[in-house]
Subunit: 423 residues, 2 copies
């Protein structure tokens, strides 16, 4: 919330609409500034080696080369007969059936003129170069083992229904690149390669402090004129969902000394400080005041919502000051902190970005990048939820996407295409 | 893996291609069967009440009505002057400036002919009905408090820059519906409503057993003909990412008695059993054999991959038998278990479904629903990763989407639209 205290002079506040572009910092420039601020977290070399199951959702620290090929050996793609294709002329041939090849076994070499029943995934015997599916054989079933028998098989090209060794991935090739997000498929691949531990970036620990005399904890009585703190829950959840560790302070009042003491008591044990509120251009904003003498600046972005932002360091710890309205907080996180972490560490996974058609028209301040909330539908349209105002928590909770209206665009019509990020 | 053992008769296996449609169960019918199987988990009424921070990622058990309005009181959308609009005729008026209204305070009623400096989020005083932004005032800044002064303000319509009480959500209205996925925005909304605890569905506990004589644990030596177990890591991760609790057994051999004993030792403490492998139509598939005498059936779906599936109960515990290839496992989970859980509980969040244009053509078995893996690009195209074969773990690890080719379609061209699910 924009903070003020009775009896203080309130100087000209920032204009919420129509700010001239030269006064504002672009979204791209601020994202670069956040990346620069956080870069030391990466170069600090903080990694840890975890069992695969504990690495879910983490970002890979180093490239991983395949220690073996996938598949490790040539194997059958079908239940059928392993053959040497040169034993099968154009009109097929009758071959002698030898012992079957179960999955998991090392088969004997296949003699010329023979066919070995083979199951899906089983190793292709030496001497065989193709598999004929059992349903193309005459008879079209496997003979009982131990019973001498023959089978007629049609002509088959070398390589048919054979999964060649290394056809998915050859030994020595890159299996995963550094900064890959480790989801189920990536961890499954490492397991397939016989790997049981993986080195990942350590999680970033964030100190989260919400501020404001007007803000009270949920579950307590609500005095007139006050509101419940939703930013704390909203941002803590967003940070944790993105894989960060969150340390939350009590709600800080509008007294800067109190906020400073609160931050100092935790700053030694965290990688990043995030505050909410108190960053507007008024003279007495609590976060601005608490940062007095620190290497921090307060800027206004050409973005709506989320215009006022703080960035810098507090006692040497990287600091981001988000504005106080809940939607502004979440947009600040999604526009700056989350993508920078994704880019640096590979975790969290980047948001899915796609193009959608607006279900209705909108207006946007000409010189600002507007971020609206919306519901993306499977038919490729996106419906805006709530207006542009940044206090609309219920509308936010009914949204599944952020809708981007770039600077320079002041109006869009129904059916116009927009960039959408899936939340 | 399709299991077989040397010395056993191998009967006609399932056809991987071109199975006649009457032999196969449709995807929709199998999904309905999975929903029916799991329905008792919902009616069992297993819920728990958690602090908001612990409810992240869970599904809401009941509808929640708003205990208060949002905003709770009319407040200012701008830093400006709170006025009674009828004091401002068409050509504006000079009004007397009274004490400012900080956020969080209960202001004195506004007398006629007066203007109260007011900050964003502060309560609109009784007697005021509009806010004039400070930049439209003359002078365009706030006077020092305690100094008697006046301000010229232009004509302003009632309601201007006032956030009315309940304009986001009115007390008594539904805030969130049962089965809502609780992400940051939903938990933030509950906090804004003053709620600190929420009743959610309990997590489902899954017993996960991978099977196969040919499968060995990652981190151990790899004998010739064997492969590493990737299904365990892949599925455990996918289940945990979807919010389930996973109990994992050791890899089960192809001896049915051993698998039965393994399942029995855990069945009493889990909600669901998931196995991988041993569900094909051969006579000696370990999962089929272990389910002998149980209320379970083994079906073949008109789907590629993931055709062979087991479904039923083992000692009264719901059971799903996924096929043994890793891609088949993941597709089975994504096509059946995950969407059914989303629908029942609201958690996990449903996959984003969208339409994309194919970056290249493909073929698909006419009578099957084919599920390919692909990389969805921000330009709205999707590139297929790897072929249709279900052993391609590296290709899966490079994908971010499932690509659906419905039954009845045998070929698609570059640029054709397909349904895509974002992973």
């Amino acid at each position: 919330m924009t903070a003020s205290t009775e009896g203080r002079t309130m100087h000209s506040p920032p204009h919420q609409h129509g700010a001239a572009p030269h006064q504002s910092r672009s979204v791209a420039r601020h994202r670069a500034a956040v990346a620069e601020l956080l870069a030391p977290l990466l170069t600090g070399g903080k990694t840890e080696t975890l069992a695969l199951r504990d690495a879910l959702g983490r970002g890979l620290a180093h490239d991983i080369a395949a220690p073996l090929s996938l598949p490790p050996f040539a194997n059958s793609q079908m239940d059928g007969f392993a053959v040497n294709s040169s034993d099968l002329p154009d009109d097929g041939a009758e071959l002698r059936v030898v012992d079957p090849v179960p999955a998991g076994a090392t088969p004997a070499p296949l003699e010329r003129g023979c066919a070995a029943p083979i199951m899906t995934g089983a190793m292709i015997p030496d001497g065989a170069d193709a598999v004929v599916p059992v349903e193309r054989a005459i008879p079209d079933s496997f003979p009982a083992p131990g019973v001498a028998s023959t089978v007629w098989l049609p002509a088959t090209a070398a390589g048919t229904f054979v999964r060649a060794a290394g056809s998915d991935l050859a030994a020595g090739e890159q299996a995963l690149a550094a900064r890959t997000f480790l989801g189920p498929a990536q961890l499954g691949l490492l397991a397939a390669l016989g790997i049981r531990e993986v080195t990942v970036h350590r999680t970033v620990t964030v100190l989260l402090a919400t501020t404001g005399d007007e803000v009270v904890e949920p579950g307590t009585p609500l005095p007139a004129g006050k509101i419940y703190d939703s930013n704390g829950t909203l941002l803590e959840s967003a940070l944790r969902q993105a894989g960060l560790t969150v340390v939350r302070t009590a709600i800080a009042s509008d007294r800067p000394e109190e906020l400073q003491a609160l931050l100092r008591s935790h700053a030694g044990s965290v990688d990043l400080i995030v505050t909410t509120g108190g960053v507007s251009k008024g003279a007495y904003e609590v976060v601005r005041q608490a940062m007095d003498g620190q290497a921090a600046e307060f800027v206004h972005l050409a973005m709506q919502p989320g215009g006022p932002q703080g960035i810098g360091e507090f006692d040497g710890v990287p600091f981001l000051g988000f504005p106080g309205n809940p939607v502004s907080c979440l947009v600040s996180f999604e526009m700056f902190l989350r993508p920078v972490l994704s880019e640096m560490f590979g975790s969290p996974a980047p948001r899915t970005s796609l193009r959608a058609r607006l279900a209705h028209g909108l207006t946007s301040p000409q010189h600002k990048h507007q971020v609206r909330r919306g519901s993306f539908q499977a038919d490729g349209t996106v419906r805006l939820e709530g207006g542009e105002s940044s206090h609309l928590m219920h509308a936010l909770a009914g949204s599944n996407a952020l809708v981007h209206v770039p600077a320079g665009v002041s109006a869009l019509a129904e059916g116009d295409e927009v960039e959408v990020w899936m939340l």
